[in-house]
């Protein structure tokens, strides 16, 4: 095969057959044809907000509370991605790629009292197969300045260190929590209004 066809065949073997669904009555050039989805619901005006930082991706954005039910707050960003917080603990996410689908997390009181506990995380791999990860956790005071508690959790695959920064009265100001292998850590802090 001539060398000039090297790249051509490379692309050629990856070329696609397209099975498209009908366009809704509009003449449109459809190269990839991925229709962007709009968020299902928007938070109410004046709803409490948080800052969410993804240190792995280097992005920080605001999320406002969409719903509060059963002790769980759902916060949504402008693009519709969501994070679920129970008592300040991340128990789920949506729209981040490899989402934390559900989790069994300790209460904040358990962490503040530095009690050992278990965590369970459910996430999907690339084949949409649910994987369960069990962690054994203990809490210690983090080295360094300031009131920071470190939750050290071990599973067969990894060791993670979640961190909780407290204020003078023992309330959590900021936390750094492990989401999934695909996303890494998320940093959550309240967004002060005004």
């Amino acid at each position: 095969m001539s060398r000039t066809t090297v790249l051509c065949l490379l692309a050629g073997l990856m070329l696609a057959g397209c099975s498209s669904s009908p366009m809704a009555g509009r003449l449109a050039l459809d190269v990839i044809g991925v229709t962007p989805s709009a968020p299902q619901a928007a938070p109410a005006k004046g709803a409490p907000e948080i800052w969410l930082t993804l240190p792995g991706a280097g992005v920080k954005f605001a999320m406002a509370r969409l719903q509060s039910r059963d002790g769980v707050d759902i916060f949504a960003a402008a693009d519709g991605s969501q994070v679920f917080l129970r008592d300040g603990m991340v128990v789920g996410s949506r729209g981040f790629g490899q989402d934390l689908m559900s989790a069994q997390a300790p209460s904040m009181a358990t962490v503040l009292q530095m009690q050992p506990h278990q965590r369970v995380a459910f996430q999907m791999d690339g084949t949409d197969t649910m994987q369960r990860e069990d962690f054994s956790c203990k809490v210690q005071v983090a080295a360094g300045a300031g009131r920071v508690l470190e939750e050290l959790c071990e599973s067969p695959s990894r060791v993670i260190r979640n961190q909780f920064t407290l204020n003078s009265v023992g309330k959590v100001l900021k936390s750094r929590q492990w989401l999934t292998k695909g996303v890494g850590f998320v940093i959550i802090e309240p967004k002060v209004q005004g």
Binding site: L15, G17, S19, P22, G25, I32, S81, G97, T127, G182
Partner: protein, 708 residues
């Protein structure tokens, strides 16, 4: 040669966005299988891995696609080219004397006998080119062991090609000589026979990304170097270095046989690692509880106006996900929502989002949700969800398994209840669109890659549920597919497929399809289809099908009967003289580990009778890799080169590559040769493919996305 009408895609870029996680991943040899440089090793890739490699040294180029079928079994399809084939040696008695470049297709299978452990090496036995013409044929047993964190040693014994240099004897007797005949035969009598020779090598992971390799090759290249002098084999020692880029492709540079420089590119696709990690974009609507349910008055619940308002509200929500409401019915405390999912690539996710929409809209008196996915106007299954479960499990750990345990998957009638309210503006309705297309012609020895690029217009007119007109037409803008170089030399009774190049050449503009189709469901497990018109680019006629598929069973049975007439090469409205009846009885089975088997027995387009067996490995994310083979009563002489029809198919959904919801997918069917035996009609919308993803077996595999 294979002709595919395809769409250009950012597949390559998206694939290369997969970042490696820093393990010492087994790499590929120039032959495209897991190995050293030109020799194989005992390693295998991780389960489900699809790898593509392109290598070139001296006059020899190889392009290989390899799939890790199971954790221990891998299969490869290789297309190799040897240039300067007849420069030095071209006697009249040699059937290949006329080729400047000798092109060859080969299939490999490798099985790992032992996985590597502390004291035991990884041992793999391989069959190379086991049903091809035999030029690449070889068998081997290779063992690989890792020492420390960076060093791997491989040692092996080879036969055939791999036994041709430095032989230590013929432990299993003499090997019948290779005759480069029609190819396509399983030459069982050859395997592990003849001279055996040792080979071996070492790999050293100098850094996370850079690997150094050295090997001793037992392949003497008797034909290429010894007889034909296409290159000089001065030494059995090969050296190489490979660099794995951040974007996932590996590039290699090698010194081969003391005389040549070689290059390779390797790209790996791991279905367990999608480029974006999963779906990105808006999350679902939070579950609204009965306590906060909408306060519809009792009157409006029972009268038409109230139901219409509920349907419209639910449609406004579901429209954001590309879900169309076919009908909404209320009966006591049960709401039945029939949906057409046009965008989400996962059925349980569409059901989960529909359940949330019902929870948002329905009054507290409705506690039971029935969601019915509709395909081609026909209800295919019914998923029953208790509103309580939706509320209680929204934030529960392990919610997917818990919901699946409580949800029911039941058979359903094709049509909704009489008093159900239909979706608005669905019938009659015209939809249409224009998109670019790319048609490729591969494996023509004179020009292995040709392509046509143009525009395709598709339109569909839905008359009533299950009844629609549809068509597609193409206009070539630019391209070089020119089959006149290699007219069909088929000896078959009728050239039913081997003149595909003429259709591609003369069909400009081309009416690909123009049909009227009718889908129905006579009973809860019986589906029917009738399609009439210009069914595909080469044939027109009438196609009828019956499928028996119970919603909770992994198997199905179908029968299809078609009467078709061969179309003119210009793909317009005219016909050739040939017409025939074709049909098959088909059995389908979806295994729990993701393997899909299909057996079709019947009469093919050329009037030959036989069977096709296909086996696919399918992942819940929609990635499919499979192979098929057809044997019919058409003799090998009549069939021609290749002896029987075979091929591989690969499908990668766009949604997996981009993380955005869409039902489009990249699919590739690679047939080494397009001949006239074992040719089936390519009619769109066959029943099993239409309904399978809404049946229990496949929904169970995909259920992880119910709450997404």
């Amino acid at each position: 040669m294979t002709i595919l009408k395809t769409l250009p895609a950012a597949t390559l870029c998206a694939l290369m966005a997969q970042t490696a996680q820093g393990e010492i991943r087994p790499s590929l040899a120039l032959t495209g299988v897991t190995g050293l440089i030109d020799m194989p090793s005992g390693d295998q890739q991780s389960d489900g891995m699809l790898s593509f490699s392109k290598s070139l040294f001296g006059p020899i180029g190889r392009t290989t696609l390899t799939f890790q079928i199971t954790p221990r079994l891998s299969g490869s399809f290789r297309y190799s080219a040897t240039h300067n084939w007849n420069d030095v040696y071209a006697p009249a008695t040699d059937p290949t004397a006329k080729f400047d470049t000798y092109y060859d297709r080969s299939f490999d299978l490798r099985y790992q006998l032992t996985k590597e452990s502390k004291y035991v090496p990884a041992i793999t036995v391989g069959l190379q080119d086991f049903i091809g013409t035999g030029i690449m044929a070889g068998e081997y047993v290779a063992a690989t062991k890792t020492f420390g964190e960076k060093l791997k040693l491989t040692a092996g014994l080879g036969w055939g090609r791999y036994g041709s240099y430095g032989s230590i004897g013929a432990p299993f007797g003499a090997r019948p000589s290779v005759s480069i005949g029609q190819g396509g035969n399983l030459r069982l009598g050859e395997w592990f026979r003849g001279d055996a020779a040792p080979f071996g090598g070492v790999e050293y992971a100098a850094t996370d990304r850079l690997t150094l390799k050295a090997e001793y090759s037992s392949d003497a290249y008797l034909e290429e170097a010894g007889l034909r002098h296409t290159f000089e084999r001065k030494s059995p020692l090969n050296f190489g270095l490979e660099y794995r880029s951040k974007r996932g492709a590996t590039l290699g540079l090698y010194s081969l046989y003391g005389s040549e420089i070689g290059f390779s590119v390797q790209i790996l696709l791991d279905p367990k690692r999608s480029p974006t990690g999963g779906q990105v974009g808006p999350g679902p609507l939070p579950v609204r509880t009965s306590a906060q349910a909408q306060g519809w008055s009792a009157a409006s619940v029972s009268d038409g106006a109230g139901l219409a308002a509920m349907r419209d509200q639910a449609q406004a929500i579901l429209g954001k996900d590309g879900i169309v409401i076919e009908s909404l019915g209320l009966s006591g405390g049960t709401a039945q929502l029939r949906i057409r999912n046009t965008r989400l690539d996962n059925v349980p996710q569409a059901i989960g989002r529909s359940a949330r929409a019902l929870a948002y809209v329905m009054p507290a008196s409705v506690q039971r949700f029935e969601i019915v996915p509709v395909k081609q106007g026909v209800g295919t299954s019914k998923v029953v969800i208790a509103r309580n479960d939706l509320e209680n499990l929204e934030f529960a750990a392990g919610q997917d398994a818990k919901m699946r345990a409580r949800a029911l998957v039941l058979p359903v009638s094709g049509r909704p209840a009489e008093n159900a309210l239909r979706g608005e503006g669905l019938y009659p309705k015209l939809t249409y669109g224009i998109s670019p297309y790319l048609a490729t012609s591969l494996f023509d020895p004179d020009a292995p890659l040709q392509a046509n690029f143009g525009l395709r217009l598709k339109a569909r007119y839905d008359i009533a549920p299950g009844l629609f007109l549809s068509g597609s037409a193409t206009k070539k803008l630019i391209g070089n597919i020119d089959g006149s170089n290699r007219p069909s030399n088929s000896n078959a009774r009728q050239r039913v497929r081997s003149e595909a190049y003429r259709y591609a050449d003369e069909g400009d503009p081309a009416l690909e399809t123009l049909t009227i189709a009718w889908y129905a469901k006579p009973s809860d497990s019986l589906y029917t289809r009738v399609t009439a018109g210009y069914l595909e680019p080469m044939y027109a006629g009438i196609s009828t099908e019956l499928l028996w598929q119970q919603v909770d069973k992994p198997y199905a049975l179908g029968v299809e009967v078609n009467y078709v007439k061969q179309r003119d090469f210009d793909q317009l409205f005219g016909f050739q003289d040939y017409s025939t009846v074709t049909g098959h009885v088909s059995g389908y089975y979806h295994f729990n580990n993701g393997f899909q088997a299909q057996l079709d027995v019947g009469r093919y387009l050329a009037g030959d009778v036989g069977a096709t067996f296909s086996l696919d490995r399918e992942f819940a994310n929609g990635i499919k890799v499979g192979a098929f083979a057809t044997l019919t009563d058409m003799s090998a002489a009549e069939f021609g080169e290749g002896s029987f029809d075979k091929g591989i198919k690969i499908e990668v959904p766009f949604a997996w590559l981009t993380g955005r919801p869409t039902q489009k997918s990249n699919s590739l069917v690679l047939r080494p040769l397009l001949r006239d035996g074992g040719a089936r009609l390519n009619v769109e919308g066959r029943l099993y493919d239409t309904v399978r993803d809404t049946q229990q077996t496949e929904m169970d595999a995909a259920w992880g996305r119910f709450w997404k």
